[in-house]
């Protein structure tokens, strides 16, 4: 084989998951911030700022799961039963928040679907964080199947990552609203961004310290010369972003805090990648152990190489169409 298809696909899946996190992250974050909005008009504005794009954002989650199924079927077959409860709860939570976009406008009293929107967003974020933590901790596998218990996913570490994701998504949501709105709500969310940013960074810091201690292998990848010279780039990038984030907030810039918050996620994601590689399901299964036969990988790759750039192009176009500040007088469709 000229190319290592499994390696390329690992990169593509990582890209899909990361795109999901940064796109649906602010979208779920808005749901998490929903109860804290000061008025019903503010809530309408917050929701309308994502209504035209939420479905596209969530489709990256389908690509993450569907892609895993397609190219790393064994990983999919092991991870899903291992994370049965968090995944099921996440799916149900997404049901509630997804329908709220439309239902909310179809009733006299929006209260119920406001709560559904908040609860669904919050739980989905929490479960995603827990699933991540559980995966980092490792999954027990014997004979191509999950062999752990029903509650292996629940640990102080996975709860920590769960909380971190909730707070981090809220940060993305808050900075998105800063970008999309003016006046009172923008002032409120700018203030919140400051606190949420600080909290996110503290949590990222704790997780970064704990992760290398979880498993000597992770430790090695981070603190082993000369490789660790490269891995030091990760914290340095982070420092630069932190600087830009807080100065952006102080200078009342609209876009800069949002981009930096996205940057926090991207850099953390690269950090996780450093810990993981070349594992797919730590501690036992590597990318190559779980990969589908080359004939499957090659077939799917053709489609991915052609279609992903097209998808990115029209997704960017959709964001472009709905660019700029929200107009409070514009109703729902």
């Amino acid at each position: 084989m000229l190319f290592d298809l499994a390696f390329i696909w690992a990169g593509l899946i990582a890209f899909a998951v990361m795109t999901y996190v940064i796109l649906d992250g602010f979208d779920l974050g808005i749901g998490i911030l929903f109860p804290f909005a000061k008025s019903e008009a503010d809530r309408d504005l917050m929701m309308n700022s994502v209504a035209p794009v939420w479905d596209g954002n969530e489709t990256w989650l389908v690509l993450g799961g569907g892609g895993l199924f397609a190219v790393f079927p064994l990983a999919y077959a092991v991870i899903m039963p291992a994370l049965y409860i968090p995944i099921t709860v996440m799916l149900l939570a997404l049901v509630f928040r997804g329908v709220s976009f439309e239902y909310r406008w179809r009733v006299q009293n929006k209260g119920v679907w406001d709560i559904a929107f908040f609860g669904g967003s919050f739980l989905a974020a929490l479960c995603q964080g827990i699933a991540l933590g559980a995966l980092v901790q490792g999954i027990e596998v014997t004979d191509r199947a999950y062999s752990g218990g029903w509650f292996d996913w629940l640990s102080p570490f996975s709860i920590l990552t769960g909380v971190a994701v909730v707070i981090g998504y809220a940060l993305l949501g808050a900075t998105w609203i800063v970008l999309k709105t003016e006046n009172d709500i923008q002032v409120q969310m700018r203030k919140w961004s400051w606190w949420l940013g600080a909290a996110t960074l503290v949590l990222i810091g704790i997780i970064s310290i704990v992760t290398p201690l979880l498993d000597p292998v992770y430790f090695d990848r981070w603190f082993n010369l000369p490789g660790s010279l490269w891995t030091m780039v990760v914290p340095l990038l982070m420092l630069g972003l932190i600087w830009k984030f807080f100065t952006g907030l102080n200078d009342q810039r609209d876009l800069q805090p949002f981009l930096c918050a996205l940057g926090f996620f991207v850099v953390s994601f690269i950090g996780i990648g450093v810990s993981f590689y070349p594992m797919m399901v730590p501690p036992t299964l590597t990318i190559w152990d779980v990969a589908a036969p080359d004939s499957s990988l090659a077939f799917a790759l053709v489609g991915a190489v052609i279609l992903i750039p097209i998808i990115l192009a029209y997704t960017a176009y959709a964001y472009w169409v709905f660019r700029g500040k929200m107009d409070p007088s514009e109703g729902y469709h």
Partner: protein, 469 residues
């Protein structure tokens, strides 16, 4: 509450429950997306405001139905892993890439252009808006194509080999995608979606015609829907017949169950119109039969021999009663739809299509029949292929994830409660929107000016009605 059931049974019930809910929305949104594209195109071409009003009306209903389709679909794509992980590991190399293509070529397309279709007419201009609407419709059809290819491959596997860890390995993608039952299933399902939608649109049109025969939008949609019903139903029956012949070739046990043929008939088999399967005695009680008709339909020769379930080992037999009844429900409704379509043609010819309350009542009655037929059809297909997930190769009992019954039971109960509550509410909102006439601005309620002051009272039934200027 669900003690005593095995994890396998519970996982099957859970899959059947969630997918049955899911298919209801696609059956409607595939047809409605195309209908919207047609309405928009007709508006751009003729500049007749009636089409625009109808577009805006059905667009709002579409948005709710589509949302329910999306969230119920996301559940499906993860359920293969949570409940059927062994299946996922074994069949993943074949089924997975097809589903990845579905995501890449269909879901993103629908989702990417949906926002522009719903919110963007003013922002992007009419041409691009038309393009977005067409892309949403095209996306739903692409989605159906890929997922039906997946399902058909599971029914009639082709183009694969098996490797040393027991995985199905793709050998020939062309044969996999265009496996033997795929073209039939695709045509039959897409026609089913169009029919389902036209019956719903027809019922809504009929409802408003009963209230006001002069309602312009109601006339237009009723007429469009009845044309569809009259033309598509015969095609669908024809396609269904071909589909059955194809099934006879590849999955004879399923056809035996559909026909209720417990016994072989060496000298021509009867068509059992109705009866009650008796699995203990292995016969159909109270059968009403047409002698030789089954051989005539399936073999095109009245005395051709037909094998029965007695030629199939017991542990490869599907549950007969479910398949037998669900098949009859589908076919029965198919002929009822044909009846409605023909009646509408007759009324059209006589000039009473907008004025015959009897026709309108019948159309309202038939409104939900498409959903019932679609579900019945899928139940026939899916139960009829048991006990296999990959036909003849991988048994359902071997596909199961290493899950414990209590965990599956708990999640099953959660799905049932949540689905009935959430989708029940959505259905209620949709029905309430349908109950308003299309000319109602913003369909009342919260999303716009509810009522302009000082206007003469509108007809009693429709409190939000505002007469046209």
């Amino acid at each position: 509450m669900l003690d005593g059931f095995s994890a396998e049974t519970l996982a099957r019930v859970q899959f059947a429950f969630t997918v049955s809910f899911h298919i209801i929305f696609p059956a409607f949104s595939i047809g409605l997306a195309s209908f919207l594209a047609v309405l928009n195109a007709l508006y751009l071409k003729t500049r007749d405001e009636t089409y625009l009003t109808l577009f805006t009306y059905w667009k709002k209903i579409f948005a709710v139905a589509f949302g329910m389709g999306v969230v119920s679909g996301i559940v499906m794509s993860y359920q293969f892993g949570t409940n059927w992980s062994v299946f996922s590991d074994r069949a993943g190399p074949i089924v997975g890439p097809l589903m990845a293509y579905e995501v890449l070529s269909a879901f993103f397309l629908e989702a990417g252009f949906l926002g522009i279709m719903l919110f963007g007419r003013e922002r992007v201009g009419e041409k691009l808006h038309m393009f977005a609407t067409a892309m949403v419709a095209f996306g739903t059809l692409m989605s159906a194509t890929w997922i039906l290819s997946v399902n058909s491959w599971m029914q009639t596997p082709a183009g694969y080999s098996i490797n040393d860890v027991g995985q199905f390995v793709p050998e020939d993608w062309w044969q996999i995608v265009f496996n033997p039952s795929f073209p039939y299933r695709l045509v039959h399902m897409v026609l089913a979606a169009f029919l389902t939608t036209s019956l719903v649109v027809g019922a809504v049109g009929a409802l408003h015609l009963l209230r006001d025969k002069t309602d312009r939008e109601a006339r237009r949609m009723f007429s469009m829907a009845m044309w569809m019903a009259a033309i598509v139903t015969p095609l669908q029956i024809f396609a269904g017949d071909l589909h059955g012949l194809n099934t006879l070739e590849h999955q004879p046990a399923k056809v035996m169950a559909m026909e209720g043929h417990y016994e072989s008939h060496p000298h021509g088999a009867p068509l059992i119109l109705f009866g009650i399967p008796n699995p203990e005695e292995r016969r159909i009680d109270y059968a009403i039969e047409i002698p030789y008709a089954s051989s005539l339909i399936l073999r095109h020769q009245w005395d051709a021999p037909l094998d029965g379930l007695d030629t199939i080992p017991d542990d490869e037999e599907p549950p007969v009663a479910i398949v037998f009844f669900s098949f009859r429900v589908m076919v029965g409704l198919g002929f009822a739809m044909l009846g409605l379509g023909m009646w509408s043609l007759w009324a059209r010819w006589k000039g009473t299509i907008f004025t015959s309350p009897r026709l309108h009542r019948a159309a309202i009655l038939m409104g939900p029949s498409g959903f019932v037929a679609v579900l019945a059809g899928w139940i026939t297909t899916e139960v009829g292929r048991q006990p296999y997930t990959v036909y003849g190769m991988l048994r359902t009992s071997e596909s199961l994830a290493p899950v414990d019954a209590p965990a599956v039971a708990a999640s099953l109960i959660a799905f049932i409660v949540v689905y009935f509550a959430v989708f029940g509410a959505g259905t209620f909102y949709i029905l309430r929107m349908m109950n308003k006439r299309p000319a109602t601005p913003k369909l009342g309620l919260r999303d716009g000016p509810i009522r302009t002051a000082g206007i003469t009272p509108a007809p009693q039934i429709d409190t939000d009605f505002i007469p046209r200027a």
